[in-house]
């Protein structure tokens, strides 16, 4: 990283790697895959220079397993991948959800399904990030809408993971991941770092899954004297497998409770020109760039259009939309998929505004002009 000027030209993937370091990540395990590989390459260099560790595993299953292990060992951990690798991580992602192990996965999306279009932009993994593993569990998914946000959201992701003892996905698209932009990154001293809560009672009293008032239980690292059991089986507050319906219920519902308690904090949303908007564009990731350009044109031509920019995709920030529903006539959701967040918008909208989608799944991106045209058509 070039440190000479406060402004630098950096790539989205590079910004995510810098964000990881800034947030205190000291362990990365991964397996290369386009278009996320730069993150691994950068961290393979920069982690050891900072006393951290990088390991290239035999595959993505091993990669997520290794970061879970390292997180249980007390490190802040991260991996980076793309669709095919993310699919392979699903089983162990579920383990981390259930065992409440903090970790961050950066998924730089590419065209799918399968090998798909490895170097083309896509937003096809939005629903997968929420539902990809079996069984009920909540998850936190952030989607940076600029290179700068790739940095800040990665920091936030690490902090959320630690605070909520939960996996966090940074769902980046190839547009953001591979573009370079002029960015000024804050000095490390300015970065807020959140650490997981460690137990502060005598080891004999420690219950690894007894939730405090925040809904989150303190987490001891292996080796710190708080010997305990971690399992992917449904467990009681001690961490031991259970078949007792009450304990099972507490285990699973508890996963949701902690996320519900943090709901407002977890929802990163920006609003642009929404005060008097009668029409809204809801966008995230690289589509924010097209939407902003479109907005500029639409406002210039007098259309009362605003932008709801979703930084958090899951938990879905329903209030972001709900608060504007009384004033909205139409909503457009441009996405590089067949309409994934669109479904959520439909659900929350509950029949109120006219909701339209604008989709693209051919490896190219939706241009500002296309959005302008569609919005104009919608407004009529």
């Amino acid at each position: 990283m070039n440190k000479k000027s406060s402004y630098q030209l950096i790539q989205g993937n590079e910004a995510a790697a810098e964000g990881a370091l800034a947030a205190g990540v000291s362990f990365f395990a991964g397996y290369p895959i386009t278009p996320s590989t730069e993150i691994a390459e950068i961290l393979s260099d920069r982690l050891p220079a900072n006393g951290g560790k990088f390991i290239q595993m035999e595959d993505e299953i091993g990669s997520i397993a290794a970061i879970i292990g390292a997180s249980i060992g007390g490190r802040k951990v991260l991996t980076a991948t793309s669709g095919p690798g993310f699919s392979l991580m699903q089983e162990n992602l579920g383990f981390a959800c259930l065992a409440e192990v903090p970790l961050v996965i950066v998924n730089v999306m590419r065209g799918g399904p399968s090998t798909g279009m490895p170097t083309s932009p896509s937003q096809g993994d939005v629903m997968q990030a929420r539902w990809g593993t079996h069984g009920d569990h909540p998850i936190i998914v952030l989607s940076p809408g600029s290179v700068e946000e790739a940095f800040h959201y990665t920091v936030k992701a690490v902090n959320f993971a630690e605070k909520y003892r939960n996996p966090v996905i940074v769902l980046m698209d190839e547009i953001i991941g591979h573009m370079r932009a002029r960015v000024s990154l804050p000095p490390t001293s300015m970065i807020e770092r959140v650490n997981r809560v460690h137990p502060n009672m005598p080891p004999e009293w420690y219950l690894p899954y007894e939730r405090s008032a925040t809904g989150v239980a303190p987490m001891a690292s292996f080796g710190d004297g708080y010997r305990h059991h971690v399992t992917g089986l449904v467990h009681d507050a001690k961490g031991f497998p259970t078949a007792d319906p009450n304990e099972a219920r507490n285990n699973i519902r508890g996963l949701f409770t902690k996320i519900e308690r943090g709901f407002r904090e977890l929802c990163l949303v920006d609003y642009e020109f929404m005060d008097d908007a009668e029409h809204a564009i809801i966008a995230y990731g690289g589509m924010v760039l097209s939407a902003r350009s479109a907005l500029e044109q639409l406002r210039k031509s007098g259309r009362k259009v605003g932008l709801i920019k979703l930084g958090t995709l899951w938990p879905f920030p329903r209030f972001a939309l709900e608060q504007y529903l009384p004033q909205l006539k139409t909503i457009l959701v441009p996405e590089l998929n067949m309409g994934q967040i669109y479904r959520e918008v439909l659900r929350v909208n509950a029949g109120k505004a006219v909701v339209e989608k604008l989709n693209r799944v051919n490896g190219t991106i939706i241009t500002p002009n296309e959005i302008v045209k569609t919005v104009k058509g919608l407004i009529r």
């Binding site: 035999e58 595959d59 290794a66 292990g69 060992g73 007390g74 080796g223 305990h228």
Partner: protein
């Protein structure tokens, strides 16, 4: 040697329900007990032991013992353990894994852990079968034997685990049976003391599934069989191949010293940091 009562008091979790879940006569409990005796003999600190497993009857071992215990997903104990060890090299990391867990779904992680020579001791509980799911054939089920998914006889040939892990790069390979409890203790002790990736294959018995469908008799009968087929390496080295047919060679089969992964990583950190300091010195 520590008595059973002392063992139970010192190493078992008092808040876990006993008797344990394993079937009457199952070899898993025997291996677990002798692993604990080996640990006791080495006078290790419980806080510094991490005991990791995958899924299967074998995988249920860690929950009973008072270490840092991690019961992972099926086949993945080793990559979890790898991350944990690299993150905290001061921990002694032990892995308990079944033949299916280690060599079916987990085969790739096994050979890569061997290759990396990371300082982890892996004990493979080889009962020739998937016990937990009710007795399907595993990659170590002998040719022609039966299982619930090969009732007409297994047409696949079994892995020779010891050969496989040696070819993959393990630097310590031992083999014994659940019958040979003293040898088991002694090999596990040496495996733990070995710096690098060590594999201990323990031939054991699942009377409930493998034993029943193959008419191998009771747990006692199966232990007797282990006694009969085992030939200590020192003796085997003097026997000719004919005599050794159908026998299982036990003992420390291979042992060598090669740089350990975490230690090597430390040299990378040193290099990287001195480069960084140099650069900052130059303040380019």
């Amino acid at each position: 040697m520590i008595s059973n009562s002392e063992l139970v008091n010192k190493y078992f979790r008092h808040n876990k329900k006993f008797p344990h879940i394993w079937c009457p006569g199952c070899g898993i409990g025997i291996i677990l007990g002798n692993m604990l005796r080996a640990i006791d003999a080495l006078d290790m600190n419980k806080n510094e032991i991490a005991f990791v497993s995958g899924i299967g009857c074998t995988g249920r071992a860690p929950v009973y013992v008072d270490f840092n215990t991690l019961h992972t997903t099926h086949g993945r104990a080793l990559p979890f353990a790898t991350g944990l060890k690299l993150a905290r090299p001061e921990l002694k990391v032990l892995v308990a894994t079944g033949d299916g867990d280690a060599t079916a779904i987990g085969g790739n992680h096994l050979i890569h852990a061997c290759r990396r020579n990371i300082d982890i001791t892996t004990i493979i509980f080889n009962n020739y079968i998937y016990g937990m799911t009710g007795g399907q054939y595993s990659p170590t089920t002998p040719h022609s034997d039966k299982a619930s998914t090969c009732k007409l006889g297994n047409i696949e040939r079994p892995f020779n685990i010891s050969q496989l892990v040696e070819a993959a790069g393990a630097t310590f390979v031992g083999r014994t049976t659940s019958y040979h409890t003293l040898q088991l203790q002694s090999i596990i002790k040496k495996a733990i003391m070995h710096k690098g990736f060590s594999v201990v294959e323990v031939i054991t018995h699942c009377p409930t599934t493998y034993g029943r469908i193959n008419k191998k008799g009771t747990a006692v009968d199966m232990l007797k069989w282990q006694k009969e087929v085992a030939v200590d390496k020192s003796r085997a080295d003097k026997m000719d191949p004919k005599e050794l047919e159908g026998k299982i060679i036990t003992g420390i089969l291979m042992e060598k010293q090669l740089p350990e992964f975490c230690e090597q990583y430390d040299t990378i950190i040193e290099k990287a940091q001195s480069m960084k300091n140099n650069q900052q010195g130059k303040s380019k």
